[in-house]
């Protein structure tokens, strides 16, 4: 199907949604302050874009995500492989990793604030731990489920430990790792927004929570829409291609 046609088709539901929104807000069912129309929200969004406040906050949020990913992922993958290599350690640490997984995210915030105070350090810590534990757990599971026969094959070809790691375990665990990455950014993004509401003065979470203080519902809605768009873009432009590029290319898993 021609690309512009399919984009138009994808946009249609949103066009209808926005139209419905305009109808509801225009009907005056609720006071204008409670539900501003799409026009007002767009205007406010545009102003925030013009005066730079939108970009500053987007930058802060995205920057934290990026920082979190860059710090956590290599650590988590390395740790997952190291632990995964040792059967005994792996079987013991797996439930531990599972527990920390269950705990990850916003529940760490009070502790983080105790240790790092309010500000970007606490927020980044939340992101770090969400991404780290999930990717670590997934790497661990991924490494453990690589069929032993591949390892044996490389060994019989004269491969040393590093060959096994780089040529068998890492690629073999890739589907799990990438899934973990995708999920962790999903969880992490949500934890980030919540953490920014509580613990800091920049970022999209802060933007919408602060706007609530002044009952600026148009700014809130502009912020929410920005959050949604950013996440969809991240998923569509970064995460899905990553999944395609690794997993599907190697024919390991069929895409849903």
């Amino acid at each position: 199907m021609r690309p512009w046609l399919s984009t138009a088709r994808g946009a249609l539901p949103f066009v209808v949604l926005v139209a419905a929104w305009a109808a509801v807000s225009g009907a005056g069912v609720m006071p204008a302050m409670f539900l501003p129309g799409p026009g007002d929200v767009a205007r406010t969004g545009w102003e925030m874009a013009k005066d730079g406040s939108l970009w500053v906050n987007i930058g802060a949020s995205l920057g934290r995500v990026l920082l979190g990913v860059v710090i956590s992922v290599p650590m988590a993958v390395a740790a997952g492989i190291v632990v995964g290599l040792n059967r005994r350690l792996a079987s013991v640490l797996e439930p531990v990793a599972s527990f920390f997984n269950a705990l990850s995210g916003i529940a760490w915030l009070p502790l983080a604030i105790t240790w790092f105070g309010l500000g970007w350090a606490s927020v980044t810590f939340i992101l770090w731990n969400t991404i780290f534990f999930l990717v670590f757990f997934n790497t661990l599971v991924g490494v453990r489920t690589v069929p032993r026969i591949f390892e044996q094959a490389v060994r019989t070809l004269g491969g040393a430990r590093r060959h096994v790691i780089l040529q068998v375990l890492l690629p073999g665990a890739m589907p799990s790792i990438v899934t973990g990455l995708r999920m962790s950014i999903g969880f992490g993004w949500r934890a980030l927004i919540a953490a920014e509401m509580i613990a800091t003065t920049t970022g999209l979470g802060f933007l919408i929570f602060n706007a609530q203080n002044f009952h600026q519902t148009d700014a809130i809605l502009a912020g929410i829409i920005t959050i949604g768009i950013l996440w969809l873009l991240t998923d569509r432009l970064v995460l899905q291609p990553l999944e395609r590029w690794t997993i599907e290319r190697w024919g390991l898993v069929s895409s849903s």
Partner: protein, 255 residues
């Protein structure tokens, strides 16, 4: 590896962990409230249980998440199945549901605060929203993913529309529904904690957040442990058995 070996390794690791923690707590050059020793956390546990405070907080949080689970089952699953049955409707709703699913209930919290103020309603709306959308979305996907051939087989047996829904659509969509529930509740539990921190007057999220302002770090750690443990219990004793009873029994693969 034998059970005894596992148990021994566990004990050794746990002991080492606790020892390292206690040591760090005693020797690190930080204020005492930074890193209370494990004994302080245990003491806080005993204290809060004896006073009946912890059980109340647990019940409050659990109650909210279980309510959201019930709402998702009763409303989101049937709605998702219904929307999924028509190809046109499903294709139309897909991007919208995807969008709303990816915006956590917490992001809507500021708007809810303007509408309903700092109260129970706001928390419940945020949490229910967070749980409902993944369930709705996945139920819709589940229906669409049922192989057409099963539907055709029922049609050639004379099955009515309702029969097809009952005997093919619902069981066929079950793996996706289970995934949706798991994901929805995972997001929801976290959104709940966040909402309780932001809005709260009660619940585990409020407990650990307010403990921070009084530097009751042992209480924070206790609360965190309870939060993690509760989720694991929920996952292990409720969600996984449901998955096992249906999907594993039918040999269906879930993606």
């Amino acid at each position: 590896m034998s059970r005894r070996e596992t148990a021994v390794t566990w004990v050794v690791l746990l002991a080492a962990f606790l020892a390292a923690w206690s040591l760090a707590s005693a020797t690190l050059p930080v204020p005492p409230y930074f890193l209370p020793p494990p004994t302080a956390v245990a003491a806080a546990f005993v204290d809060l249980v004896a006073k009946g405070i912890l059980p109340v907080y647990v019940m409050e949080s659990l109650g909210r998440i279980l309510l959201a689970a019930a709402v998702a089952l009763v409303i989101a699953v049937p709605l998702g199945l219904l929307l999924g049955m028509s190809r046109g409707v499903a294709d139309f709703m897909y991007p919208i549901l995807n969008f709303f699913q990816s915006v956590s209930g917490i992001a809507w919290l500021p708007l809810m605060l303007v509408w309903f103020g700092f109260g129970e309603k706001t928390i419940l709306i945020a949490v229910n929203y967070t749980v409902i959308f993944p369930v709705l979305f996945n139920a819709l996907l589940g229906v669409r993913s049922v192989p057409r051939i099963y539907v055709n087989a029922l049609r050639t047996l004379g099955g009515s529309r309702w029969r097809i829904v009952r005997d093919v659509m619902i069981p066929g969509a079950l793996p996706n529904i289970a995934t949706g529930m798991r994901l929805g509740l995972a997001y929801g539990w976290r959104a709940l904690i966040a909402a309780e921190m932001l809005v709260g007057a009660n619940g585990l999220g409020f407990m650990i957040f307010s403990a921070q302002s009084f530097h009751l770090t042992a209480r924070i750690m206790l609360g965190m442990a309870v939060i993690g443990a509760l989720w694991l219990l929920l996952d292990y004793f409720v969600l996984r058995p449901v998955e096992a009873a249906t999907i594993a029994r039918w040999g269906l693969v879930q993606r």
